[in-house]
């Protein structure tokens, strides 16, 4: 049974963080599409952060800055998402749930928690996004490090104040989601980002989500690609390494073995697509 006693709209980020720090029974609500199903009897206060002017997408000071309460639908509609990195943010946004949930679900909410419907995570990892965390003081942490920071994830009294992506990234990103139906939870999410310099690959990034215990970059496979002249064998090798580097999970949307198999195929396909796009072709 739920025990919610109050639902508040703090007027400032400061007030929100204070309310969260004050009591271990307080929780953040942004879109609310996950929290609304919470049966956690410890939760007594809901702190809604959607009225703090934290909904925006802008290019400023060398960053693409995204406010945490920006909805997935707003990201999908934004010209920046459609253009930046070959449109990977729009591609990923389009695959988050259905159109109605996208009007509610927020970017910050999608990135903050690791649940099987958080499809944006690999795309933001592939763009090397960082989070501005606020707990009274601002602290920047890369998204990749965030998923390893269990201390922070467990602690209360903080929020994601902004999501930042370096805007000077000239490469192409590709996102693919495998799911049983278009709007089902994911069986596997893969995102890839490549830059091209001379004839070789630069700054390769590969990230996986939903099939794995925690979303993560696949550094083992990235190393194989960096500075190399691409070709079918190289992509094959990187894809196999990606598969072998990740521990996958079994649930009703797929067995661990099936997911491992998928990682290889989908990673290779994303790499081929990204490289083809960098060369002005379709894969």
């Amino acid at each position: 049974m739920k025990n919610i006693r109050s639902y508040i709209f703090p007027k400032t980020v400061e007030e929100a963080v204070d309310a969260l720090a004050l009591s271990s029974s307080a929780r953040i609500v942004a879109g609310g599409t996950t929290m609304v199903f919470s049966k956690d009897a410890r939760v007594e206060t809901l702190v809604d952060i959607t009225r703090l002017d934290l909904s925006y997408i802008k290019e400023e000071d060398g960053f693409i800055k995204i406010g945490p309460t920006t909805t997935v639908a707003d990201l999908l509609r934004s010209p920046i998402a459609a253009k930046f990195g070959g449109g990977i943010l729009a591609e990923a946004s389009k695959r988050v749930a259905g159109s109605h949930i996208r009007e509610l679900a927020t970017i910050g909410g999608d990135l903050a928690i690791t649940l099987p419907w958080c499809d944006l995570q690999p795309a933001f990892l592939a763009l090397d996004a960082e989070l501005v965390i606020y707990d009274g003081e601002e602290k920047n942490i890369s998204l990749a490090d965030y998923y390893n920071d269990r201390e922070l994830m467990k602690r209360s009294g903080w929020l994601i104040k902004e999501i930042r992506i370096l805007s000077d990234q000239k490469g192409i990103g590709v996102f693919e989601k495998v799911s049983r139906t278009k709007i089902d939870y994911s069986t596997l999410d893969i995102a890839v980002y490549l830059e091209k310099e001379g004839g070789v690959i630069r700054s390769p990034r590969i990230a996986a989500g939903c099939a794995v215990p925690m979303p993560r970059r696949i550094g083992e496979a990235e190393k194989i690609l960096d500075g190399q002249v691409p070709g079918p064998e190289l992509f094959e090798k990187a894809a196999k390494t990606a598969k072998n580097s990740l521990r996958t999970v079994t649930n009703l949307r797929g067995t661990a073995a099936y997911r491992s198999h998928l990682i290889e195929i989908v990673t290779r396909r994303c790499l081929e697509k990204a490289w083809a796009a960098l060369n002005g072709q379709e894969a």
Binding site: K2, Y7, T33, D48, E103
Partner: protein
């Protein structure tokens, strides 16, 4: 707690529980065109427009409606005076049991306001959050396209 919002153009004040969903509140207040279906944000029969955007009211905390503008199917045409979209649903045979119809109408209302000339694909995209177990979707899609043509004065 108390919220005030505008429902179908009328100013309203509701006393609500802090963890109540918008679906619960609207049905309790008599807006029975907002159907209770899966209550998991999947089926779309509880669709309403909140500040112009289609949302599943079953996954919206009611507190979020404070200060918002809500439109339910009761805010479209009336039984005596259906609007163009509702007429099109009847003309195209897009209504069978009717349980999903309010949700479809509201999703389509949001789409046509934003995009008066949608392609078939855009209609499918806009209706992706509404389940219908009777019609097989072809007729609701046709109905939205027919309504769009009519609203543009092409028929």
């Amino acid at each position: 707690m108390e919220i005030s919002c505008i429902v179908n153009g009328e100013k309203k004040q509701f006393k609500i529980e802090p963890d109540e969903t918008l679906l619960n509140i609207l049905r309790r207040e008599g807006y029975l065109g907002v159907k209770r279906g899966c209550e998991e944000g999947n089926c779309g029969v509880c669709t309403v427009l909140m500040n112009g955007r289609p949302v599943n009211s079953c996954v919206v905390f009611g507190a979020k409606a404070d200060g918002a503008e809500i439109i339910t199917v009761e805010g479209l045409g009336t039984p005596e005076n259906l609007n163009t979209l509702q007429e099109a649903f009847l003309d195209e045979g897009a209504v069978q049991c009717g349980f999903c119809t309010p949700g479809f109408l509201l999703s389509a209302t949001a789409l046509l306001k934003e995009n008066p000339e949608p392609s078939r694909e855009e209609v499918i995209e806009a209706l992706d959050s509404n389940y219908c177990r009777c019609t097989g979707y072809v007729k609701p899609i046709n109905a939205v396209l027919a309504a769009a043509r009519k609203m543009r004065g092409e028929e």
